[in-house]
Amino acid sequence: MNAIDRRWWLGGVGLIVLAAGLYLGAPIYVLYVANLLMTYAVLAIGLDILLGRAGQFAFAHIAFYGIGIYTTALITNNTGLPVFVGIAAGGLLAGLVGVIIAIPATRLRDVYLALSTFAFAEAAQWVFNNWDSVTKGPNGLRISPAKLFGHTITDDRQAFFLVLSITLAVIAATVLMNRSKLGRAMSAIGQSEHVAMASGIGVQRVKVTAFAISAVYAGIAGGMFTLYQSFIHPDSLGFDLIVLILTMVVVGGLGTLPGVILGVLLLGLMPEVLRNLREWQELIYGLILILAILFMPRGIWGLITERRQAWQARRVAARPSPVQDET
């Protein structure tokens, strides 16, 4: 068993112990926070595929999240179908809308891509707020408890394992995708579009695919939200949420999966730590963004890997070189 295998095993066992401990012993509020963080993780990983890997600055993520929430909630409310059908439908619909948006938007210069997707997100929020007959508009939509094979999921504890398994599936899919041809093509585009094009990568097609995958993730995150929440209001789907997710990705480390998860944990737990400083939150997030981009442009994960490399280099340098000894 080599070192990497052992790390995976240790991580897996640790995770199972942690999850079982949380499920059995943690107060319900802790499980709520855990569910919320896992939802954010799926959102952040999706945003990072587009932003960190493919290098496309798009702001539409929260619109897809909203589409996922409303689709799953409406299917749960109006049919007796198992909740997985609703989540899948939410993910697919978000992906479909994503493709429709991506086809014109990815032709635009980076600046215009940011602006047009920003406009789309704001327009989507407007639709959630004004399509009264479907979304109940500004009154908010009540979400019935999710049903699964005859069971009804009524609290955060029951939702926990479902949310956890979806999160793990998304992480596994992302790891596989990053290693695939598609993932490498995305990274190539993120590094340099021209070089990618010259190497025979169908840049436009890969961009649209990245956009679609990112949207599907956001839609699934929306479905996860309905598992443990009983209410959705369009005001919670605004620009603030995309900035929160963006902060997680940037602080953790753009384009690195462990970094993004680290960012979600750190920033997701911050409101819990700063609960008494609610009025300071906006200022703190703003300063964190500025400081992160100033002092650790590659995020916390970037710092960690730099340190580790420096440490390894020093260890190699310290080892007496046999060639030098002979001379």
């Binding site: 290098g55 406009a119 004004n130 300071w280 300063l287 500025i290």
Partner: protein, 300 residues
């Protein structure tokens, strides 16, 4: 009757539109010389309104003193942001990679920091208005009614635009700024301190937004969220293709008029979505803006 309504809508639209044009200009001059989209542009507007409120309401100073002081404070804040943050981010930038992501994150961070700072003061708990710049007595222009204040807002906006135009056209510094935005490398070669020019343009843009904030405050309400007006400025800038200054001014005014007409004839709810639809449609069909020529091709 409808004719009068349309005229009234256009007239009111001209007033707000001229202020939107000012905000859009501040975005465009920054973009032209630094390639940065300032997502904190709206917060400079908000900051201007609050700083002006402080001097007007709490110190009781007259507008004629308050506007220059507000502009100066905004200038200091804007140029400091460029010096302290953007300059360093740019300094670390490796060629070939898009600097966009870092710059957008920095300005989004600034916008949150501003909003958060204002919210710490109890003034921001309630929505407020500034005292009227001019009397709100009605003025009848044919069948159209505007207040004296509306006319003052429009005239001041136009005056500021003319001043800006004269500055860029006829002063040495203004011409150096234009040279910088056209070709930074060539500008360096002829001895223009490009770095200082970037800082200067951020200061000017911030001052411009802050003045627009003072002008728009009697129309919008002053609140920490009033920076949302930036979306109209984005739309105006996109109409002008983000580079054509005249197009941007026209864009601002057109948006003001559209907003008023939509409010009058469609529904007040639809006002909020009008600028997004404008942005999406223009970017889909004419991304170089309504006034730009063919899209420029950038060499690698």
């Amino acid at each position: 009757m409808t004719g009068t309504l349309i005229l009234q809508g256009v007239a009111s639209g001209l007033v707000t539109g001229s202020v939107y044009a000012l905000i859009a200009l501040s975005l465009v001059i920054v973009f032209k010389s630094t390639e940065v989209i300032n997502f904190a542009g709206g917060e400079f507007v908000m900051l201007g309104a609050y700083v002006a409120m402080f001097f007007l309401v709490f110190l009781g100073l007259p507008y004629i003193v308050v506007v220059p002081v507000t502009a100066f404070i905004a200038f200091a804040v804007g140029s400091a942001f460029d010096r302290v943050v953007l300059d360093r981010v740019l300094g670390r930038h490796r060629p070939g990679q898009s600097i966009m992501v870092a710059m957008v994150i920095a300005t989004v961070g600034l916008s949150f920091a501003f909003k958060g700072t204002v919210r710490l003061f109890s003034v921001s708990d309630n929505v407020r208005t500034l005292p009227p710049i001019f009397s709100t007595d009605p003025v009848f222009l044919g069948e159209v009614v505007l207040s004296k204040q509306d006319i003052a807002i429009f005239l001041i906006s136009v005056a500021v635009m003319l001043l800006l135009f004269a500055f860029f056209q006829f002063t040495k510094v203004g011409r150096a700024l234009r040279a910088t935005s056209e070709n930074p490398r060539a500008a360096t070669l002829v001895g223009i301190p490009v770095r200082r020019m970037r800082t200067l343009i951020w200061g000017i843009a911030a001052a411009l937004s802050a003045v627009a904030g003072v002008l728009v405050a009697p129309k919008l309400l002053v609140s920490p969220d009033m920076g949302g007006v930036i979306i109209l400025a984005f739309a105006a800038a996109i109409i002008g293709g983000f580079t054509n200054v005249l197009g941007v001014i026209v864009g601002g005014i057109v948006l003001g008029v559209i907003e008023n007409l939509v409010g009058l004839f469609v529904s007040s709810k639809a006002i909020a979505i009008a600028p997004f639809i404008v942005i999406i449609l223009i970017l889909m069909f004419r991304p170089q803006g309504l006034f730009g020529g063919a899209a420029p091709i950038k060499k690698v």
